[in-house]
Amino acid sequence: MNQADVSKLMSQLRIAVRPTKRNLKNPDGPEGRLLKLRKTVTALVKHERIELYYNRADEARGYAELLISNAIRHGDRHKATMELADYWLLEKQLVHKLFKVLVPRFENSTVSYTRMFKAPRDYPGMYYRKSVLELRGNPYPALIPDNSQNRNLLHNVLLDEARKEFRREKLASLANKLAAETENATASTIETPAQAPVTDPQSEQSKQAEEAPKA
């Protein structure tokens, strides 16, 4: 340790990576852990949305992301990547899906390839946290409705009004300032032909800007 391994080159993951791995309690040790995660990764690629325990989902997520990013990076002509796909995907038709469906889907993606949500756990039942893991761009309806555009929520209504008032006040203060300046300018020096045309378009603009939010 204490020196980065330079023999491998990997793309940066767009998900938060834990500093250490979870062991995922397994009698077969580290090998058994991978065999276990293999099933999850296969299921994820196959079904595109799965519900499972949080720890296992979080561990499998990294492997799925790296598998896709390696497939994008090296393509299907690369022997090592093919071996990887062969190991991680238990059903062999999914290898085709990886290279022919997922690679084109995520090629130009700038965000992570998977999404993870916290899911409610059933009560009474196992106390483990649950989660939903899904591939982006899956055919299912979205899990969480997008409420970010709901203008009728109370706080959005209030914020809208506050914003309008903020803008109005700002423009008023600006106009006052300009008026004071022009007055000063005219009072102090008589010949100010250069300044007058400069101030005029600004005030016009500000008037237009004032009208815009009302509309």
């Binding site: 020196q3 980065a4 023999s7 990576v17 580290p30 492997y63 790296l66 990887l84």
Partner: protein
């Protein structure tokens, strides 16, 4: 030609004669890939793209990449460290070298006569990153194996010369400690063997001969490529236990590899920061070398 050939006993030298003829690996190993990629890039479009960092920089300057342990990382510390490393590199020529290269290090030593000491040896290990980067040189002097640990950025180092630039088949050569002394014996007055400019770094496929057990480590468990006679000394029980500790699944453990490496995007950022400086230093070094070669014939005449 070189010291090895002279020292090797006849039988050994017939089998494992040290050849300057270099075998280029046909496998798509890291070295070959590295050698191929930057050349292609240079040919295809130097005029189209702005100067990109050569892909082999991570092998030449591995110590510029920080420790991948996430808890220990800090962008500003790493930046300051790199600035210090560049400052030091402006003062002293720290050439490209690998495990398996033969180096001569001149360092100031308050206890030596003349206050400097020079040590020639083979680099058997490189480790650590940043200003802590260090390497181990090994040589056999007066039938006594000597190893010296040098810190790359230690300001008491006055000069680092690469006498023979090459790689070996393995990433670290600790097994030379258990090999016959011929394999780690190098002449102190060895002359530098310059490589042609732009030539890829040769891989020396010499296989060393181990002494009989007991060994310092269980070499049979480490899948070494550069050892000739490991089968000679191990029994079935060793073979079985070696098989037991193998971890064939690790090559599929993507996250383990990810946590041990610096991602490509970050590497690009790091090397883009130091690239121009390192490149000018390299050019300067080349110019100096040419000067030296120009001076030499005068001296001989």
């Amino acid at each position: 030609m070189n010291i090895n050939v002279r020292i090797l006993t006849k039988s050994v030298s017939q089998q494992y004669a040290f050849k300057r003829i270099v075998t280029f690996s046909t496998k798509p190993t890291q070295q070959a890939a590295v050698a191929a990629v930057p050349q292609q890039q240079e040919v295809t479009g130097p005029s189209v793209r702005k100067p990109i960092v050569p892909a082999h920089y991570r092998f030449v300057y591995p110590e510029f990449l920080p420790d991948p342990k996430i808890e220990w990382r800090n962008a500003i510390r790493e930046k300051l460290e790199r600035l210090d490393m560049l400052d030091r590199r402006r003062q002293i020529e720290l050439p490209e070298f690998y495990v398996g290269s033969i180096l001569a290090v001149t360092s100031s030593d308050p206890h030596a006569a003349g206050k400097t000491s020079r040590f020639v040896g083979i680099c058997i290990h490189r480790e650590r990153c940043g200003l802590r980067a260090r390497f181990i040189l090994r040589n056999v002097i007066d039938h006594q194996g000597i190893e010296v640990v040098y810190e790359l950025y230690d300001p008491t180092i006055q000069k680092v010369e690469v006498l023979r630039l090459e790689k070996r088949l393995d990433d670290s050569l600790f097994y030379l400690r258990d090999a016959l002394p011929e394999f780690s014996t190098f002449d102190e007055n060895m002359e530098a063997e310059p490589l042609e400019e732009g030539a890829p770094v040769p891989i020396n496929d010499i296989k060393v001969v181990l002494r009989p057990r007991p060994w310092l480590e269980r070499w049979e468990r480490q899948n070494l490529l550069g050892v000739a006679n490991i089968e000679q000394y191990i029994k079935d029980k060793h073979r079985k236990s070696a098989e037991k500790v193998q971890k064939p699944w690790e090559k599929f453990d993507l996250m383990k590899q990810y946590r041990a490496t610096i991602p490509e995007e970050e590497q690009k950022e790091i090397f883009a920061e130091v690239h121009t400086e390192l490149h000018t230093l390299e050019l300067q070094r080349k110019r100096n070398k040419r000067k030296r070669t120009f001076v030499k014939p005068k001296h001989l005449a």
